[in-house]
Symmetry: C2
Amino acid sequence: MKMETTARSLASALHIAKGVVHRRNSIPVLSAVKLSDGRLSAMGGVDMRVEVALPTVGKSRGSAAIDCHSLAGLLAHIPGNEAIEITDDHSLATIKFNGSEYQLPSYAASDFPSNLLEKNEGHRTALDNVGFIAAIKRVMFAASTDEFRYYLNGVATVYLNGEPVVVATDGRRMAWMPIPFIPVGAEGAILPSEAVAFLVKRKLEPKAAVFSTDSLSARFEYDGLVFTTKCIDGTYPDIARALPEPPAPYAHLDRREAVAVLLRLSSLDALGNDCAVILTGADGRVSITRDGGAYSGRETLSCKTFDTGGFKVGFNGRYLLDVLSALSGDGVTLSAEAGGIGSSPSIFTSDDDPLRTVLMPMRI
Amino acid sequence: MKMETTARSLASALHIAKGVVHRRNSIPVLSAVKLSDGRLSAMGGVDMRVEVALPTVGKSRGSAAIDCHSLAGLLAHIPGNEAIEITDDHSLATIKFNGSEYQLPSYAASDFPSNLLEKNEGHRTALDNVGFIAAIKRVMFAASTDEFRYYLNGVATVYLNGEPVVVATDGRRMAWMPIPFIPVGAEGAILPSEAVAFLVKRKLEPKAAVFSTDSLSARFEYDGLVFTTKCIDGTYPDIARALPEPPAPYAHLDRREAVAVLLRLSSLDALGNDCAVILTGADGRVSITRDGGAYSGRETLSCKTFDTGGFKVGFNGRYLLDVLSALSGDGVTLSAEAGGIGSSPSIFTSDDDPLRTVLMPMRI
């Protein structure tokens, strides 16, 4: 194998590959990037693959699989305009530039899992500027990290009351964003959190996506970059069932004021997560308290209270801060099942913000 | 106890206190800051104390000791111009501002160790603008973290061949900086690394210092801040004995080029720390290599070689990178005992930089 490229091209391709390649792999070749004519490929475990265009100089021949993180570490310190020559011989890759020579372990390129995820076939949906990934970025905070509820460890694309949305939940909080349409084959597809993290790190939206229901995988196409991931093999819960019906507004608050209060109450971290933040509203005021013996806090905010009269509801303080911070408007409205505010999930909506967030109350 | 101040004053005093107060203490009161008329005091274990001026509003009476990190966490989120009222009653402190009320654990102010470090008496040496702490900042990287060589866990003030210097070493590398004079009582004093970290974090040099040889402590006075620390109870090794005598220059390199090479060679971190960087110099060139089977690197730099002829010497790559990065000039000169370059410590000096660094070679 022999190829020539510039340090800048190789470093930027490796920077992307580093974002998927796991540092430890039970299958050694998965730690490598495969370099072949004009392309760098990398695997994230056996479930994700990224392929980046790699401009080469002159003729290149053959392919090689070289340890990703070592090569990326080296390239991070080579000036961008240096010409890089890579050759590969008997499981040893040689990198030459400007009279310097490095050797790194390499693997047989034929061992690199090329046919994995290869069966991604389906309708190609153009995604330019529809904001699919931007919508995913806003809801991903609510995804679960509990490996026993693996089907919640990601972001799903579903219809909610007929409206196409992306949604994430961990069973205690939920966030969804409307999207213009669901890509062909994507209904019910759950993108794993690791793939979501890779997608939201890109600065641009993908040009197109292919969701293959046969192979349960999704492919996202960018200029010079193709990212393929397995979707989670599971059924996303019916989120409409978790929502209060019909939701009635019970409080309207200044969002930034409420965030400031919650930051202060959250500073009482000695109280732990089980100590709820309690909202008690009446007569145009809400008192927000957290109380646990030696540590406690009590604040009051002005708050529009609705026909429901007074209310009392407790939330996990960290989660409440998360949903209020995720919204973007000036005011936030809390809605719940009329007559059951303390036991029904509350919906948080903000003026002029399509994001919807839901929080289960805590027993108080 | 009762006092009033502004959130800004209290937050900035707590920000300083946080830098010394340990998060976990076997003696609970050491987790607290003591607030008394116009002053906030905090202990770092039993060996360090900081006292910060705290402007109060109106009359204040009594004193209280309140949990430092909880109070600092709360104050971090209160707008600076809010008026803060603190009262204390039966091991519970109440913090009020703008209609809000928080309670935090407090301790009897009388339990706060007030007489510890109190015996710091000695001659007060003015330090304005002599750059004492700036000098310490440049050598501290070389200090040991090995608790069995506790007397090396800091920066010492000593005479080296009659010249006053601050010095740090871990036995394998050493750095020293000349200072204009040694403060009265400071000869042989070893400031512990934790105290050094606190001092270098301040933006200004202290106005004055008091080194007490009786109580083996040092006090540094700033505007509105007094910092007192125990010195390490030990004898600093005679550093002059570790130096080659007389040192003869054997190589002169471009410092930035050498740093770039070492960054690349250090990226081969799979080789571990035991794999030396080897410098082989002859005829105006030095080859710099690191070699360990599957991972290896070889680079060449132009290098002035001296009358000593060729040389071959190995160093720990991380340490070599540290000493070259610590220096500031364009060129760096390596000197060692004539005829014993591979076994004598090497002195690294840089044009126009008073910092001196020394590195023990590795066996190659």
